[in-house]
Every structure is written in C-alpha cells, then in structure tokens.
C-alpha cells in the first residue's frame, strides 16, 4: 500500500473554530473528494498540509515523509490549485511560469508547452486579464508540469461554468490513467465528484464524519421517499436525516439492505447523490418526523 497522504489525529484551534482529530489516508492512483459545507474545515486542512498554518497536534505524512521535516522534498512532488488566484496579476503567463519554474527540480517545459496548446493559454497576456477559467487552467498547467505525484485542489471549480468544470474532470481522468498520481479534491460542489471520485471524506464543523470509497457509500446509504403516513417505527434508527414536505417525506438511511427488508414496497428507495449525503449529514434543521 503506497499511501501518498496519511493524516492522523490532526488538530488545530483558532478563534471561533477547531479542527478535531482529523484522520484519513489516500493511496497512490486514486482521487479523494474532500467534501463539506463552507466553513467545515476543508481549506484549513489543506493549509495545514501545505504548512500555511501550524498544526496544534497530530501527524501529516505525505509520500511517507513528514510534511514539516521534509517540507521541501514534499513540496517538490505536490502540484497545487487554489480557488483564489495567488499569482501575480501584473505578470504575464510566461513571466509567471518563469518565476515558478526554477523552484522545481523536475520541471518539464515540454509538458507545460503541451498544456498551453491544449488549454489555449495566452502566454503574453497579463494574469489579471485572464478569465477565471483560464486562471484555473494556468494553475493546473503549472501544477502538472513538474511531475507532481499529488495534486491538491482547493475548490478549483467554484465560479466556473459547467463547460470548464467538465474539461477539468476530463483532464483529471486522463491523469489518473497511469495509476501513478493521486488527487485530493476539496469542494462543496459535490456534483463534480459524483462521477470522478474514488474515495469520499466528509468533514463538518471540524470533524470527519465519514471516509470511505464512493462505492461503499452509494451501496450503504439510500434515499427513502414515501407518503406522509409512512411507518418508520421499525427502522427509525437507520435514518441519518429526514425532510418533510407537503406531500411526503424523504430521508437518508444507512444499511440499505435492512431498509429494503423493513420498508419493502411501501417506499421508494433510490441511490443517493453525494449532495444528498452532504445535505443530510450536515443539515442543521431537526426536521425529524415523529414515528407513529
């Protein structure tokens, strides 16, 4: 097992927010979707991985190396794409690339040129004049041009139109084909991950609620829809959350096999989307139906 990311017991406290006992791991060759609502701690976790913040406790191992002690060796192998532009607006694409390039020992200029062609990046345009989608593509090109083995993406698709989002997913799919790299994709736009993620880690209010394969998640959980008079007394404890509308109720339940057995034909049972899972696990409302 080649674990590219191994985080154990990570914690961080600052005013108004705490990251508590974060643990998860990611093997080489897979994509992990890191999902959670805004403010759940996704960006904080990434900042701790990249040493933009200092952790209070726990361990972060990247490529089997300590992320602080072997900081430089680790960062050489990481490509990063952040949501907000962190490049110099006044520089052109070419100038910005020339600034980044000398820091990486394994910079591959030919690869960068390939991405420039593929993405249609205008080398002589100032970064501030690029569209949001182009800025992201430039960040991606730079991240992929030094033989990075781990791609860390922090909300890379927020504010982008569906076309660009789809292009990104296609690029990631091609990237995963050799099984050599891993992608850590943090987002609250779960539809991007519905298709592409191998693993899903859900974070909420600083805690990991679940971390498993997407397969297991979709197998284990189901959406149950029924009329208002649906009798849930036999399986109430299996429900994560319940929503009531004028015409019926809908909820997320675990242990799909059990649910089907107990409710059978009296309810509609469906595959959940990642958004369903996110919503029901992190819902603040207590819209539970009392069972009769």
């Amino acid at each position: 097992m080649d674990k590219i990311v191994e985080i154990t017991g990570l914690s961080k406290h600052y005013k108004g927010f705490s990251l508590k006992n974060i643990s998860f791991s990611l093997e080489r060759g897979y994509i992990m979707g890191f999902i959670g609502p805004n403010g759940a701690g996704k960006s904080t976790t990434i900042k701790l991985m990249m040493n933009l913040m200092k952790k209070d406790g726990g361990q972060i191992k990247l490529f089997g190396l300590d992320h602080e002690k072997d900081e430089i060796a680790v960062k050489e192998r990481i490509g990063f794409v952040y949501d907000e532009n962190c490049f110099y607006d006044e520089l052109t694409v070419e100038e910005m690339k020339n600034f980044i390039r000398p820091f990486y020992r394994r910079w591959d200029e030919a690869a960068f040129r390939r991405y420039v062609r593929e993405f249609g990046l205008p080398l002589n345009k100032q970064i501030k004049r690029l569209s949001k989608g182009m800025k992201m593509k430039f960040a991606l090109a730079a991240a992929l041009s030094h033989h990075a083995e781990l791609l860390i993406m922090d909300e890379p698709t927020s504010g982008l139109d569906p076309l660009v989002r789809n292009e990104l997913l296609d690029i990631l799919r091609t990237l995963m084909e050799d099984g050599d790299k891993s992608v850590f994709f943090s987002t609250h736009i779960t539809s991007d991950l519905d298709k592409i993620a191998d693993y899903i880690t859900l974070i909420h209010e600083g805690e990991i609620l679940l971390s498993t394969t997407k397969e297991e998640l979709l197998e284990e959980y189901c959406i149950v829809k029924g009329g208002k008079n649906l009798d849930l007394s036999a399986c109430r404890e299996l429900f994560i959350g319940l929503e009531e509308s004028r015409y019926g109720i809908a909820g997320l339940a675990r242990n799909k096999g059990d649910v089907i057995k107990r409710l059978g034909g009296s309810a509609v049972i469906e595959k959940p989307t990642l958004e369903d899972i996110l919503l029901f696990f992190t819902s603040r409302s207590d819209s539970h139906v009392s069972s009769h």
Binding site: Y14, K47, M50, N51, L52, M53, K54, E71, I72, A73, V74, K75, E76, I78, F80, Y82, E84, N85, C86, F87, Y88, D89, E90, L91, E95, N98, F99, I100, P102, F103, Y104
Partner: protein, 217 residues
Amino acid sequence: MYHLIKKDLLVQKRALLLALCLLVWFSLTFSGMGIAGLSLSVLAVTYFLTFGASASDEKNRSDRLLISLPVRKSLIVAAKYVSVYVIVALTLFLVYFIHLVIKFLQLPVDVFPFTLEGAAGSVAASTLYCALSFPLIFKYGYMKSRMVNFILFFLTIGGSSFFLDWFQENAGLIQKIKEFFAERSDWETAALFVTPALVIYILSYCLSLSFYRKREF
C-alpha cells in the same frame, strides 16, 4: 533568490518608470542639500520600490504561493533583505546616469553632488530603515504596518537631518572623530561603519524570519 528578487522588480514595471522620474525630480530639487541630497533621494526611491513590491505581494496574496512552492522561508525573507541592496545599487546607477546626461547635454541646472559619502549614506540609511520596518511587515503584513512604516520613514529622514545638524554644531567632536579616522586605514574605516550596520541588518533578518515562520496564512 535571483528569481525572487527579479519578481519584485518585474511586478512593478510601471513603478520603475515612475522611480526614474522621481530621481530626476529629486536631483533638481534637492540640489542645495549637498551630500544628503543623494542619500535622501536614494532612500526615498528605495522605500518606494521595496515597499511597492511588498504591497504587490500582499495584494496578490502571493505568500500562499511562495510558501506552497518548494522554497525555504529563510530564502524568501533573505531575498527581501538582499533586494534592498539591489534596488539601492540600481537607484545609484540611475542617479549617476541622470547626472551624466545632464552633464553631457550641458543643461543649466544644479544637481546635488554624486559622491562616495553620499552613496555610503544611501546604503546606511536604507539599511537602517529596512532593518527597522521589515520585521513589522513580516509579522503583520504590509497593509497593517503601512502607517507605522510611513512614520518610521519620516523619522529616518528627520533623524538624519537632526543628526547632520548635530554634526554641524559639534565641530569639536567632529574634529576628534576625523582625527580618529585619519589614523585608521580605509579598510578599518569601512569596517567600523559597515559592521554595526550589518549586525543590525542580520539581527533584523533573524527577527523577521522568526515572525514569518510563526505567521499563519
């Protein structure tokens, strides 16, 4: 390090042009100030360019980029400190160039003299000023320390002219100091001036680095 410094200049292409104009302006208006004219103009332009780079860094939130790159924080901070001297050298060169042009075209204007003492004064003033203000920038960021840095800047200028006045008044002391240095070789004189400046600069670097290491982004 070269690339970090180059970036500082590259992000301010427009500012460099403005710096040139400022130097022309200073050369003409400070002409009556003698040696101090050179030191002050260089200090002013160095302030303008060095902190212009910091402002650009902050505006672009590029600390996140720099720290995510495989480069040590010690190098990032060191580059800033070294860039000051690069900018001072560049500014001195520009001033010299301006004076050459004026002489060549035989323009009927007075400019302050370009002397070694003036240049040394530029280096000393810039060193001192940056040694004091950089730690603030590395701890609080450029924006938050802007006001304090501005005040420090004027204190440095005010302090320098106060210092010069004081020199004027204490001619006797000056005489003794002159004798003291006359007895020393050129190298010893240089060392006596450069060493404390370097020490302050290095202490400032250590402080800035420890601030930068602790800072969260």
